[in-house]
Symmetry: C2
Subunit: 306 residues, 2 copies
């Protein structure tokens, strides 16, 4: 069975808009539970200004713990050079940055044009290299609002590909294409990823979908057909972007993992443990909307053969 | 733009397991609201024993009304010859029958083997012809639990195709492949429909998915790629099968229509009116679980061009 990699982003994207604070101890319990359930990749925090995002004020502590967990490759999101400096100082070996293909979203989210945001990524790469981390720290670069934007509407596919090419040339070890507001439809998703892989055949690509309009798993299946083997998802479907009106949950980790197994891929997930963790996280964040079909249906392995 | 046909089955599949009775007046209001929202096909009731399914005791009345609505092609489900006789007497010109490819489900649902259920369909065709309705009444035949069964597990794809071929030969004007318990995964769905269309190139096919495991819309996208252009869905995602443990809602009509429009197809749906109807239906059935991303996200047309 071919392996597909799911990266849990609940501790980052999932916490951006929550109404309840979550202690460092519970974040640690979340990480431990996820790794016990077979997860190997997690975006565990974000290095952003604590005044704007108090929930990420413990970023360094969470990163420090995550680095001690055997079998886990933790990463963190940064939105600018300052955050990147903090992430590099934390000792993390995977750092994610994201720019937006929508000028309207880029302006609202980062107060930069998309080109200025790409320049910032180039500065982040330079900082990493100047700090002597070129061989030890990998940078992923996301292209957000890649399939449409709730602020400006249409987003040009060629612009997304150009930005992906630019950050690849700048040194991104992975390009993450993100449907920040859940506008992508399966045909569009398959086409963009197919073109991206033709244009950058050597570049690892990943997909980040939101389920805002119910198409999240359909888009995973579409990206899978285009050869994508790395996906972001969050436990319980938590998530949303504070600067993208109407942006709701990430694709649900449990359901995405089930579909991938039903498609014949290996995810490494222990569903009983994952669902136990999900139930626990739901009690920690009682004001949030959690999603999930597998939790409701009860986990039984996919019916693949007689 | 190519047209895709969505058949609303909330008044039939959606009501099979509801805990609240629904009056004939409200069913009529449902039909009127749906047609006002641009829907042209509805499975409006089921001719089944009123003792077992009291909610369908008004089947003849609902059918009588539906036949008066301009622009609507109403149909009804029957499970045996007796129900078919009642459906023919109602004046409906489209009657649906369903058999199950899973022997365990067939036995629980219809107390027949799959072959006996196919024989029953042959008797229904003969009855229709003997009543002189051959030219005026079309019969659709569904093959249920086509992608797996919560009672027996695996269901053989060749068996599904054989049954589809048999009921086609018997006179079915359409074969409906149904994922009664939501086990189908996109790759499996695309493969089965591709094989079905190769084997029965002249036979119209339709797809009926449940969202039990979150894969409903992914499966619509997969069937769409295999050339399917007719789908069942229910307003608010209502639905379930009383004889299939764990079977939950049909795919959500609003979300399916949105995805199809985002894929560049025409559905004829007026979303504002459809969502207004859905809100109303939800107040009528307060004990049921309704689903729907488009309702929550708020309807804005798909972003297809600049």
């Amino acid at each position: 069975m071919e392996r597909v990699y799911l990266r849990e982003v609940g501790l980052r994207d999932g916490l951006q808009m929550v109404k309840t604070d979550l202690s460092t101890e519970r974040k640690i319990e979340w990480i431990e539970g996820a790794v016990a359930a077979g997860l190997t990749e997690m975006e565990v925090t974000s290095f952003v200004p604590p005044k704007t995002f108090p929930i990420f004020a413990d970023a360094a502590k969470v990163a420090e713990f995550a680095l001690t967990v055997p079998g886990l490759t933790p990463s963190a999101l940064v939105l600018n050079l300052r955050g990147a400096a903090d992430a590099f100082a934390s000792g993390l070996r995977q750092v994610s940055y994201v720019l937006s293909a929508s000028e309207a979203h880029s302006s609202a989210n980062a107060r930069r044009t998309s080109d200025e945001a790409a320049e910032e990524f180039e500065r982040i790469v330079a900082l990493r290299d100047n700090l002597g981390f070129k061989e030890t720290v990998t940078l992923s670069c996301g292209v957000a609002t890649a399939f449409g934007c709730s602020l400006q509407g249409y987003v040009d596919e060629d612009r997304v590909l150009d930005l992906a090419e630019r950050v690849t040339a700048a040194g991104a070890a992975e390009v993450l294409i993100a449907d920040t507001v859940g506008y992508g439809a399966p045909g569009q998703v398959e086409r963009l990823f197919t073109r991206l892989r033709e244009r950058l055949p050597a570049q690892p690509v990943a997909a980040h979908f939101h389920d805002t309009r119910g198409m999240g798993l359909a888009n995973v299946a579409a990206a899978l057909r285009a050869g994508v083997r790395r996906f972001d998802a969050s436990i319980g479907g938590l998530g949303g972007c504070p600067f993208a009106p109407g942006a709701t949950g990430n694709i649900n980790f449990e359901d995405a993992a089930f579909m991938l197994e039903a498609e014949g891929f290996e995810t490494g997930v222990d569903f009983d443990r994952l669902l136990a963790l999900r139930r626990k996280v739901e009690t920690w964040l009682p004001q949030e909307r959690f999603t999930g079909a597998i939790l409701r249906a009860g986990y039984k392995p996919p019916v693949l053969t007689a």
